[in-house]
């Protein structure tokens, strides 16, 4: 693990707050100008918190109760275009409902920040966490981050604005937080003061795209084949530059706050001499670390790797950290029906990331914890054993294993699926 030189800690106070409240505190410290809310659980607690702070005079902002998610996201986009720091958010199908507005926010290169309180998509209705909602913007130019704790939620909200508003990036950023497990669970959080935050996040400047009578520009005209490809390439360039900006901002976070993560992109736990590794995103990291401690105590060389930034995807880090590892289990809290090995989204991304490596570990896809089902320590121990067995057997093309699910592996009426089989 790399560590950055720590400086004297900045003034902070400790509070026991939920993940949503931690984001709300960050929004207050960031002096966000325009916030648009529309109700859907579980992300909406952040809007409940900020609207009360505004009503109590602790925060000066325009809070708009929108009439749909589509409007909510368009309001954020247009406020950002005028030069206001804007915040939106949603969960599950609400995030889907506003998808068009999310896409144009990214293609217009407007640094809106959003909270996605991850929630299963309908139907059937479920409040619990699944990562598919936020995943839906993964190809559109949104920066995507999965947090594990309330402290990380607060810190990453600050980082998100800093990176998104950076002239070299200018892309929106969605912060994903496991519904209920983090949105509504309380942690001890160190809340910094506004002066420190403004030293870390400079004022938002849109420059020559600012929508104001002093700057009579036409924004987003009709392009067609003459220019669209160049515009897409510019978004791509912004995303490519984001890696350096994230690294720089994370290092600066250490300088300003005197604390912060060791690695900007991934959270590696007891990876030093690991032969087997489990991977995941979000709160599964907490359970994963407990499971790793237990396995280490039993003499197994196991580590846990939590992907934090999903866009840009940490390919260099994964290649370096998984080099020499024998077997890797990827725990997806999402699905991608019909994809490679019937695995989830994270699995297919990890598999693609490792492809250039001359010697790749055995990679086993798992799907677990859908719809808010708990992923237990025992589940992770079971997954690790499957990875070890597959590695020992030299099985490099396992189809995805569903963990903690009732019923047979596959629908017995589906002959093809039965034939594909898979290890138990």
């Amino acid at each position: 693990m790399t560590t950055t030189q720590e400086t004297a800690p900045a003034p902070e106070r400790e509070e026991i707050i939920t993940g949503c409240d931690a984001v709300a505190q960050a929004l207050r410290l960031l002096d966000v100008d325009v916030l648009a809310g529309y109700p859907i659980r579980p992300y909406d607690s952040v809007m409940t918190a900020v609207s009360k702070m505004i009503a109590d005079g602790q925060m000066d902002a325009e809070f708009i109760v929108a009439e749909s998610e589509h409007s909510q996201f368009e309001i954020g986009k247009h406020a950002s275009l005028v030069g206001a720091r804007a915040f939106i958010g949603s969960s599950g199908v609400g995030w889907m409902y506003g998808m068009e507005a999310l896409v144009v926010t990214a293609s217009l290169r407007l640094p809106v920040v959003a909270l996605v309180g991850n929630r299963a998509l309908d139907d059937p209705g479920a409040f619990g966490v699944e990562h598919n909602d936020a995943m839906m913007v993964r190809d559109t130019g949104w920066l995507l981050y999965w947090v594990e704790s309330a402290q990380e939620a607060l810190d990453t909200t600050l980082l998100a604005y800093r990176v998104a508003e950076d002239k070299r990036v200018m892309l929106p950023c969605a912060l994903s937080m496991d519904g209920a497990f983090l949105t509504h669970s309380q942690h001890m959080v160190r809340v910094p003061v506004a002066d420190t935050v403004s030293a870390f996040v400079p004022p938002y400047e849109l420059g020559d795209r600012r929508f104001h009578p002093d700057n009579p520009v036409s924004i987003a005209p009709q392009f067609n084949e003459d220019w669209v490809m160049e515009a897409r390439r510019q978004s791509d360039a912004g995303m490519r530059r984001a890696r350096a900006v994230i690294a720089e901002a994370t290092a600066d976070f250490h300088r300003v706050f005197g604390r912060g993560p060791a690695d900007p992109f991934v959270d590696s736990y007891r990876m030093e001499d690991a032969e087997y590794v489990l991977m995941g995103m979000g709160t599964v990291g907490m359970v994963g670390k407990v499971a790793v401690d237990r396995m280490r105590a039993a003499g197994k060389k196991v580590g846990f790797l939590r992907v934090k930034w999903f866009r840009p995807f940490p390919q260099p880090e994964l290649r370096a950290l998984l080099r020499g590892v024998k077997g890797v289990g990827v725990v997806d809290r999402d699905y991608s029906f019909g994809s490679n090995s019937h695995g989830g989204v994270l699995y297919t991304e990890v598999a693609a990331a490792l492809y250039p490596e001359p010697r790749r570990p055995v990679l086993v896809p798992f799907i677990a914890g859908l719809g808010g089902r708990e992923v237990s320590v025992d589940n992770l121990l079971e997954m690790e054993e499957t990875v070890e067995r597959a590695t020992a057997d030299g099985v490099a093309d396992l189809t995805c294993q569903w963990i903690g699910v009732r019923g047979p592996d596959s629908d017995p009426r589906d002959v093809a699926a039965t034939a594909e089989g898979g290890v138990r």
């Binding site: 409007s71 005028v82 009578p213």
Partner: protein, 374 residues
């Protein structure tokens, strides 16, 4: 680069517009069709709004045909917004201006916010956003709906504001079914007026009456708060007529009583121009056949179809509580206006109500419908 400051005559809200600025803020560079009346509406709107204005526009003709990259006609700041987002773009823009001015991040001044949308974008898809915008009295914003009665840019498909019976790409006239556009045109300005009592200004205008249209835009911007103006714009491509007749058709729609020139300022309903003369009985409405028979989209109409169309227009004038505006004809106060009394003879709608009821409560009902006048 700032646009040179332009002095617009500071008229009282209730005085009619008599002097126009020379400057244009919707200029060359657009690629709209010959005879496009909606482009004319954009020009009127920008001209009277002046340089301290931000304009957002939804997808539609006035996006796709207007703003090809590197040849924008807008001398005002203009931004695209999605098809169903007129109201939300206006709220986002106005809210950002307000908070940035309050925090001293931009100079505190009056900046007009106009979001324009089409009949499809505003009347269909984005209707909920118009409703939301007209509810939020914290912000000064104008929604301008240019109604050319179809999704004209995408190849003329029926919208909720396409007239009954008109042929469009999705509502053809076939050998088995002569009429497939079964829906009567949605009355968006009255719908918004009736449902948003805190909205300060609602108006229906026509591209054929430029001074009236500009006056309505000016009043909307001057009165402040959330306001709404709709314009009726003939479309040669969508309606199938010779482009040289665009302006004449717009005027003819008013002469036939199909388009009604009205506005409602702080709850006071008023009629303008030819419509006012029709209401006052000074001018008779022309038969709708004069209007319908000039357009290819109604070429399949039989005489019975024309008669049906005429009967619905007559009903609008003779049976509605607010002639040409709001369809209520039976109330706890009786049938209004009184049977046999044509609005052509009545001084105005309020008088018709009062005479029908015999006391003042009918008038109070009108006030409640129109809004809360300060």
């Amino acid at each position: 680069m700032a646009i040179p400051e332009l002095v617009i005559p500071d008229l009282e809200i209730n005085r009619r517009l008599t002097v126009l600025p020379m400057q244009e803020y919707y200029t060359s560079g657009h690629r709209t069709c010959q005879g496009c009346e909606s482009a004319l509406v954009m020009r009127y709107m920008a001209k009277i709004a002046g340089p301290r204005t931000l304009v957002t526009g939804t997808t539609g003709c006035m996006y796709v045909a207007n703003t090809s990259y590197n040849s924008t006609p807008w001398a005002l700041p203009w931004a695209h917004t999605q098809l169903g987002s007129a109201g939300s773009s206006a709220i986002g823009t106005a809210a950002a201006l307000k908070v940035l001015m309050r925090k001293g991040k931009i100079p505190d001044e009056r900046i007009n916010v106009i979001a324009f949308c089409s009949d499809g974008g505003g009347g269909d898809m984005g209707l909920a956003t118009l409703s939301a915008a007209l509810q939020d009295t914290r912000y000064n914003l104008l929604i301008l709906l240019y109604d050319n009665e179809s999704y004209a840019n995408t190849d003329i498909q029926a919208s909720g504001m396409t007239p009954w019976g008109a042929v469009t790409s999705f509502t053809p006239s076939g050998t088995e079914q002569r009429i497939t556009q079964h829906r009567w045109k949605k009355n968006v300005p009255a719908l918004l007026m009736a449902g948003h009592p805190t909205g300060r200004y609602f108006a229906n205008a026509s591209s054929g009456f430029g001074m009236d249209l500009m006056d309505k835009v000016r009043i909307a911007l001057d009165v402040g708060g959330p306001t709404f103006v709709q314009t009726h714009d003939p479309c040669p491509k969508g309606w199938d007529f010779d482009p040289r007749m665009s302006h004449e058709l717009a005027i003819l729609a008013v002469e036939c009583g199909i388009t009604v020139l009205w506005d409602c300022l702080e709850g006071e309903l008023r009629y303008q121009g030819l419509t006012k003369q029709q209401v006052e009985g000074k001018v008779r409405r022309k038969p709708v056949a004069d209007y319908l028979r000039r357009q290819g989209r109604f070429a399949h109409f039989t005489d019975e179809d024309v008669d049906f169309f005429q009967s619905r227009i007559d009903e609008m004038w003779e049976d509605w509580i607010l002639p040409g505006v709001l369809r209520v004809n039976q109330t706890p106060f009786g049938r209004l206006p009184v049977d046999g009394s044509s609005p052509r003879q009545a001084g105005h709608a309020g008088a018709a109500v009062a005479s029908g009821n015999g006391n003042g409560s009918g008038g109070a009902q009108i006030e409640a419908v129109g809004g809360n006048r300060a």
